[in-house]
Symmetry: C2
Subunit: 161 residues, 2 copies
């Protein structure tokens, strides 16, 4: 019997992810960004990276444009983005990140980095880098931030408030 089973390893990975996300979410809420889930941050980032229409955002996030529209609605009603009509294409509603959206992005990134730094202090910065490198190798492509696969969205959801 192995010291650690494969199933436990899976749980460990998930647990690590949740630890990070929960911490960030909690801090975000305390900084006036309550209700924001990491998926919103990633969507915002994708918009900033050029996905400035609902269809584009859907493609970037790997979800349907309808699902993207719901995320956009949230971001708009919470004043993270504005939608303005495109003079060059009357079908499009171009997405523009607001000042508040920029702030969320900045704060969110800093919080994630904080958690990472905290981890680095626990196991050592070098060890953390090794861990990341190994993980990246195991996962394969590495899942760059700029193109988040669809399955991510549901994982980033809130879990039973």
């Amino acid at each position: 019997m192995p010291e650690s089973s494969g199933a436990e390893l899976a749980l460990l990975l998930l647990g690590g992810f949740r630890s990070m996300v929960d911490a960030v979410q909690r801090e975000l809420a305390e900084r006036g960004h309550g209700g924001v889930r990491p998926v919103h941050e990633f969507a915002l980032r994708a918009i900033g990276a050029g996905a400035d229409t609902a269809s584009d955002l859907g493609r970037s996030l790997g979800v349907s444009k309808q699902a993207a529209a719901k995320t956009i609605a949230f971001l708009e009603t919470h004043d993270y983005i504005r939608r303005e009509s495109d003079p060059d294409d009357a079908r499009r509603k171009r997405l523009r990140i607001t000042r508040r959206g920029d702030e969320l992005l900045t704060v969110g990134q800093a919080l994630f980095d904080d958690v990472r730094a905290h981890w680095g202090r626990q196991i050592g910065a070098e060890e953390l880098e090794v861990l990341e490198a190994q993980l990246a190798r195991l996962v394969g492509s590495g899942y760059p931030l700029s193109s988040i696969p669809g399955w991510l969205a549901s994982e980033l959801g809130e879990s039973a408030s």
Copy 2:
């Protein structure tokens, strides 16, 4: 700017989890256990570990007893468990794992272990153990298999089939 941002680390962890789970799920489907999601395996494991009623299972899994009942319904209709009335307590319907359920458990565990072994071959068995130890430390409590927190359930779901 850090080589790897905190957000990327989070994605890496999630990606690792998904890699494992997807692989196991795929293999499971090929072995006649299509439609089974890891959450079902964990539920089965919890039942085997003593959570032999819906309420118990709900507590073990950290979800409501109604949610547990839905999982139980799945397991029963797919012949992984049987429900039999408890002679000592007429309220209860005791859950018993069937032969097929046992097989699922065995196969599932083996598949998870296979993935882990595969990973061990990629980065080295010792390195993998170190990685696990570090992860366990970072996550904190370690999320033992026997008591799965509620937020797990949604993470184990299928993503857009």
